[in-house]
Amino acid sequence: MYKLFLKIATRYLLKNKLYSFINIFGLAIGIASFVLIMIYIKNERSYDKFEGSENVYRAYMDYLVGDTFEAGDAMTYNASGPSLKQEFPEVLDYVRFYYFEKVTFVLGDNIFEQPMGSLADASYFNIFKYPLLKGTKETVLKDPNTVVLSETLARKLFGSEDPFQKTVSAFWDGTEVVLTVTGVMPDPPQNIHFKNNFLISFNTENTWGIFNEHQLKPNWNMNNYYTYIKTASNTNAAQLRQKIIDSDIEEDTEERHNIEPIEDIHLYSNKPYEVEANGSITRIKFLSAIAFIILILSWLNYINLSTTKSLERAKETGIRKVSGAQRPELMMQSLVESILLNMVAIVIALVLTLVLLPLYNNYTGKNLSLEWADIESFLPIFGFILFGMVLAGLYPAIVLSSYSPAKALKGKIKTSTGGLNVRKGLIVAQFLATIILLVGTIVVTKQINFLQNQPIGTNLNQIIALHGEVVSKEVDSLVISKYNVLESELENLSFVKNVAIAQTYPGDSFDNLSSSRGVTLPNGDVDNNNVFYSYHVRPDYFNLVGIEFLAGHTFIPTAAKNYNQVVVNEAFLRLHNITSVNEILGKNLKFWGNSDWQVTGIIKDYHHFGSKRAVLPMIIRNQYDVYNLLIKLDDTAISESGFTNSINQIEKKWNEIFPRSSFNYTFLDKKFQAQYNDDKAFGIAFQVFTLLAILIASLGLFGLTSYTVVQRKKEIGVRKVNGASVAGIMKLLNQDFVKWIALAFIIAVPISLYAMNKWLEGFAYKTNISWWVFALAGIVALAIALLTVSWQSFKAAMANPVESLKEE
């Protein structure tokens, strides 16, 4: 019997091509969108899962802000790990990382910068149960001056040779260490938050010389370490957390230690000094909502179309009943059709997914895939799709099988008011979803524009930052004087406007910015509560990046003790309730145990981290150190000489002065904009999926109207014969839809207002959701609906009435 069902279904679908196309296409889009989003979400949720990861926690610092503690720093002290292990028996082990954004490896003439690696305790492989390709987990990181390389890095350094026990030089901050390779590990997977391309044994810090004696001792002063702890498997995490919060291992009331599960970091943590920019659970929630909305929309479409269409098939149903078919058989027939349709849609959806994934990966730099190997983990997703499609097939099946045969055989059945209401309800639901998504898209787009157009207080155009590593055994002062030469030579280039040296710059990571507490204001007030952020630059810096002064001026290099000069920002003044610049300008601050930091200027607030974060209170110091060489290029000169050519000239100068070095550069404006990448990607996802949702909804509407118009052909003909105008007929056919959309709009406004306010909570600076956002969404929805409907009703209204009446 199923063979017959299948046969009828296939022939029916082939015969009604438009209907089948709309249905299958709508479903395929819905399923493909759903699967794509689910693949993404699954990946986002898969972060930091390894054997025993459920017992691994990251320790971090809470800071006292006012009178509550807030998550203040993802980093901890070098004493944190050992103390936690000693104080709490539940803590079985700890591993500390000192993270390097990059280290320069030197092997003979092979000099290159390798990003992302750490000093790590020997316990690393005891806690992070990642595989090791060469070496012994227990001992690889035990001895000083040893390193474990990622496979790729090992190949970069040693080619096809066995790297085991070979030595390589590493430079950081101009300081060299010679490391022996004791292990090779696989490249870090994409779904861990802490990606290390190399691990250097922690005790190498004693021999490397990048820290001073004071910093090497276990201390509570320098919180530059990431600490992860492993707890006994029966530990009550909430209890341990409370104990750690309550304990005062550090004996400091202004801050406290806290812990969080490593598995939660990627989606739930967004603290200062994260290893990498994490994901966001809000985004995940929104995307899941969108995924479900789209999928459900396509099912509603299916239900609506097939129910409407089933009226046309009343006769067939009647014949079946008369021939002895009973309800279960009729429902099975309808379900078989639904499943057939959905199967075709699923196949198309999978093809779409496979085609779109590489595009998506290309765009986001992710590496998502749909592989047979992990098909098992997608089973729930497919289960859900299957469940939905049975459910979606059920309603038309019930409607279809409920006709009494005598009535059904009379041919066209007038829809019962109940059925009509259901279908109206479905249309309203579709438009409700569409309008909500439209409002969402508009708000997200508006917010991203708002962020990008927010005055950031700097001008980062045409500035590049050079940050190569000088690989020489020269003393620091010699390197610094060479930098001086380089600076003046670069300034002499025709296309260079200005050069300055800075520890960090707007849009750079937290890494090169120090956070501290404890400052004494000129009036003698001591603030030990609030964190301030600090970095050092040369006097030209402010002018070069376009930071403006509210009062005072930049550092004066000729002044005695010029290295004790500082500049503070408005946020710093606000924090300490300083209302008049005179209270601080020219006066001395006390911090870091130094009593005479003289304030030479107050700068207007600028965004160091983009406008997602509020402006942080800053103290910028005058210090000569070789970090980033910022170069402001001249627009017109660059356009004349060509960009590549200019960069080549800069590189040439660099190499002349530092023959043994690495060379690389960054565009400041690009790097700054990159901070919005995740939000932009989210915005694009929102736009794309809204577009798809609208497409699905209009397909449904198109199908539905083409059917109702056919049904009302005779009515239209009669009306026209009796003098109705084309406009009048169109109004007749369109007015229903306008009512439904109005209803959908009224319901959509509060829901979308609530949802989008939730989303905006994640931003320090938010755009406002003005009334026109809703108006626009409503008008777009209405316009799309009317266009779709009018296409059909216009045709009907224009038809020759004699023709349409004759057909009956």
Binding site: M1, I8, R320, V322
Partner: protein, 222 residues
């Protein structure tokens, strides 16, 4: 006795008023009869036929079909009853457009859960009997009206029913095609199948052994 209707009433409510479609119908049909139902348009002929065929419910009265009291049966049992004993022929043929002639004939057998080999034999037999073997792979829309009705009759007969109900079976056919169908009915009747047909044609009514006249839902004697 094949079936018996006692004091059957059927009505619909329209504007708060009862509109009677069937009024106090009493009817006994013996096995082997050939009955024609006649009456003006709107008199309730189709309604009565549908009630007899259990395709439509009635509001009052008793209906016994082969010693089963239909009025007390659940829908499922009623469906089982007519599926087993009754074949329907319609004015508009009512073939399924998506199925070939062969498949249309096979369909009722599927709902009887007949084995595939048996089905093949039965359908082949029927195709043979109606001389439509050559048409078995065509779809209904590819046939003439007369041919479609032949298939319709064949389908009604395929389950070997005791009773054939035909609602204006020749209404859409020309006279020659109509005659052909009526001859088939006559032949069937002589083989022992009971036939009840609705017709407007005196000539067609003449094929039967008894005529029932309806007016405004009421049976008029005469």
């Amino acid at each position: 006795m094949l079936l018996q209707l006692n004091n059957i009433f059927k009505w619909v409510n329209s504007g708060g008023q009862r509109v009677f479609l069937l009024k106090d119908i009493n009817l006994e049909v013996e096995e082997g009869e050939f009955i024609s139902i006649m009456g003006p348009s709107g008199s309730g002929k189709s309604t009565l036929l549908n009630v007899i065929g259990m395709l439509d419910a009635f509001d009052e009265g008793e209906y016994n079909f082969m010693d089963e009291s239909v009025h007390t049966l659940k829908e499922k049992h009623r469906a089982n009853l007519y599926k087993q004993y009754i074949g329907f022929v319609f004015q508009a043929y009512h073939l399924i457009d998506e199925l070939t002639v062969y498949e249309n004939l096979e369909m009722p057998l599927l709902y009887k859960n007949m084995k595939s080999s048996e089905r093949k034999a039965v359908v082949a037999d029927m195709l043979d009997r109606f001389n439509i073997v050559g048409k078995k792979d065509l779809f209904p829309t590819q046939l003439s009206g007369g041919q479609q009705q032949l298939v319709g009759v064949a389908r009604a007969l395929i389950g070997k029913p005791k009773l054939i109900l035909a609602d204006e079976p020749t209404g859409n056919l020309n006279s020659q095609q109509g005659e052909e169908i009526m001859e088939i009915f006559k032949q069937l009747n002589s083989e022992g199948v009971t036939v009840i047909q609705v017709t407007h044609s005196e000539k067609n009514a003449g094929y039967g052994s008894r005529i029932i006249n309806l007016l405004d839902g009421r049976k008029i004697e005469g």
